[in-house]
Symmetry: C2
Subunit: 447 residues, 2 copies
Amino acid sequence: MAELKKGMHLNLFLTSMGHHEAAWRHPSSDIGRIHDINYYREIVQKAEAAKLDSIFLADRYSVSKQAVKYGELGGGGIEPLTLLSALAAVTEKIGLIATVSTSFNEPFNVARRFSSLDHISKGRAGWNVITSGTDEEALNFNIERIPPHAERYSRAKEFIEVAIKLWDSWEEGALVKDKASGIYADNDKVHEIHHKSNYFSVKGPLNSSRSPQGHPVIVQAGSSKTGIDFAAQYAEAIFTAQQSLTEAKGFYQALKAKALEYGRSQNETIILPGICPIIGKTEAEAKEKEAMLHELTNTEYSLIQLSNRIGIDLTGYPLDEPLPKLPDISNIQGHKSRTQLIVSLAEKEHLSLRELLLRLAGGRGHFTIAGTAVQVADELELWFKNGAADGFNIMPQLMSEGFDDFIQLVVPELQRRGLFRTDYESDTLRGNLGLSFSKSDEKIQNY
Amino acid sequence: MAELKKGMHLNLFLTSMGHHEAAWRHPSSDIGRIHDINYYREIVQKAEAAKLDSIFLADRYSVSKQAVKYGELGGGGIEPLTLLSALAAVTEKIGLIATVSTSFNEPFNVARRFSSLDHISKGRAGWNVITSGTDEEALNFNIERIPPHAERYSRAKEFIEVAIKLWDSWEEGALVKDKASGIYADNDKVHEIHHKSNYFSVKGPLNSSRSPQGHPVIVQAGSSKTGIDFAAQYAEAIFTAQQSLTEAKGFYQALKAKALEYGRSQNETIILPGICPIIGKTEAEAKEKEAMLHELTNTEYSLIQLSNRIGIDLTGYPLDEPLPKLPDISNIQGHKSRTQLIVSLAEKEHLSLRELLLRLAGGRGHFTIAGTAVQVADELELWFKNGAADGFNIMPQLMSEGFDDFIQLVVPELQRRGLFRTDYESDTLRGNLGLSFSKSDEKIQNY
Ligand SMILES: Cc1cc2nc3c(=O)[nH]c(=O)nc-3n(C[C@H](O)[C@H](O)[C@H](O)COP(=O)(O)O)c2cc1C
Ligand SMILES: Cc1cc2nc3c(=O)[nH]c(=O)nc-3n(C[C@H](O)[C@H](O)[C@H](O)COP(=O)(O)O)c2cc1C
């Protein structure tokens, strides 16, 4: 690449106890604090002290009776925007990225909530746009089945267009706040949007004035063909699960190329593969930690998790034989790319179902690594310098202990190598990600 | 009343600059801080230091281009649950009541967000259930007109039933968190709800475990016949706008009687009329302050506000003649009770349109009073002791200066009279309001 590459970006994928399925059972996990806002505050304040770009919360609109038994509400069950709004009040620099689905919400409400979060955080809001992928979620929203993959993305497209129009319904400078004349807003700079199309009809303007970032940062995590197309068009940061450097490079290049087709430069799409580290003083210690987590893993739970993830019931399949041939997954309507990743991982490495379950326990298909801080930093540097990543989505297998290891050992190592910042460049998420603020101004002329 | 009456309850109806239409123009209003979370934090921490039961945020799902010109986004435009989630992180005792409409949301999302707020606040969440009342709001949600009044309430009823089922889908004690056995939840105590009726079909369980209060406190503010019926059945705290002691008594008795029909005792419905005070060291000083606010009032803005409120366009009507006969308001589909209150106020007192606008400027139809702290306390005591109120919804016409006056002058006066607590009785909103926690347990058996 000819362009000057700046430092890497690091996002903490926040969960309650850690990304390993069995994290909550680990002795270092303070499971009693799973709903304690101060527990999350401490983690996020550490992330901020370490100068991470952002924290991120995933989301799902259902939970199964079967899965809660073994810890599925490991996330604590706190709705992302609620938790991030609370954390906005006790942080100052770190970005706050919440997942919200376009399938079970209205664009007016969502645009407004992100504008509000952007206001109270003074410019640190990001939206991970998802379409959701399971019938179990649909069943909580008056429908029996999740709409087909293509239809979800087409609704998502219109959803995001409406949201952007609503954010732009208040121009920069619309707030006048002139006490003397009694003019609060220059309403020539406030626009009804009169959106009317296939899915939505929204008059506007938004009832939240333009927020510090103009638009919250748009994040996306779908890696199917349609997902990549969507990301290339709209996303400014992209989460992805990649099993190897080679695959990550392929994804990276495909996405940047696609973004170029939409007239977007290299710097406008920040690609952040997930990495699930377990760090030890020696490699042996790290492997021991990993083995301990594997020991705490419950196969029945792992099977439920995998079945939910790929939308195919695998309970009852023989554990010690290779994953049997599944129904045609090219036609899957749920989480397409993840299902493909999982199936091809099992095939390529000839894994038995039991082996596959353990491979997924640490990070659900994300890249896992157990090693020393230097080994982890080496891996990050390798991906970063070889066109596979603009930064990483850090997914500690253990939240307290594991994340502490990451910020105390890996972050300083990255800083020593000149790969990661030693102080924030900006007070906004956009600023720290090196994204422009101007995009909205061009768009505004269309209304 | 034979029952022992405990102390009064006080709620702060939080707005950005104050409830008077012209508050933002007042010299004491720091309009530059309208989106500053620390501004709201300071106010709420003061309210907590004064031992108020709760703070409350109203909501609306639209704003008009015309009204923003003069300050309609006075509320700052921060979505209530976002702001209250942030404030939950910086307070410890005070209740947090957010308005959410049943007309533009899904019960699964709403039940979950309130459960989440209840978790992060450790039991301080309340939900002001509204049905919304204007076409302008409907136009942001894919429909042309707000559904008829009766239909809105019938959806609201089912909405709240679904929410209650979802909160009860996790029984008390369902969380086991046993690391040794790997059992996180006793899933015999986690229930699918399989709700299916006119408006919603929701499978459950909720993906947020039972929160500290079990159910967030249900608050309601509709005062029409249907609204009262709804409140009598579901609400635990009731906001209402009353113009006089006599009217307030009538409302109080009607609501308590109706609640009794639903098998609910006196203590289960806390009635909180609004009061919009302006406090001075002398009565003359208070009146002067009021006159100053009236001077800052913009008639054009007041007319827009009134027109929006009652859903009838009054711009163009002669200002110095009595309010002309309006279309049959008994058939109004918007905010029924408020429209009736306003029209009958104008009729009873033979107000010209201009006079009516000024009467409404301070509190939109709520009881306004300009006087000394003793006079304000007298009025509150009178209402409280005469079966017109269980407490009050404090709506300072000026937020900073006016609310400071209230907590520095009126609260101590009420405490001296033994009418208001000097310390919190509980860490939860339910506890401070003297409401029971047990309700849910009875209901749970039905599923
Ligand atoms: C880091 C990361 C986070 C994700 N977070 C969510 C999430 O919170 N909720 C969800 O339903 N899917 C989430 N996904 C899954 C993808 O969004 C999922 O693949 C998408 O729903 C379907 O996209 P696809 O079919 O285009 O692959 C996440 C994926 C990644 C890589
Ligand atoms: C203190 C108070 C607060 C209220 N807050 C809201 C609000 O936030 N949003 C809203 O649409 N209506 C609000 N209302 C208005 C009533 O809820 C409104 O009258 C209701 O929508 C219609 O009820 P009704 O037709 O039964 O009177 C409030 C009323 C009172 C007294």
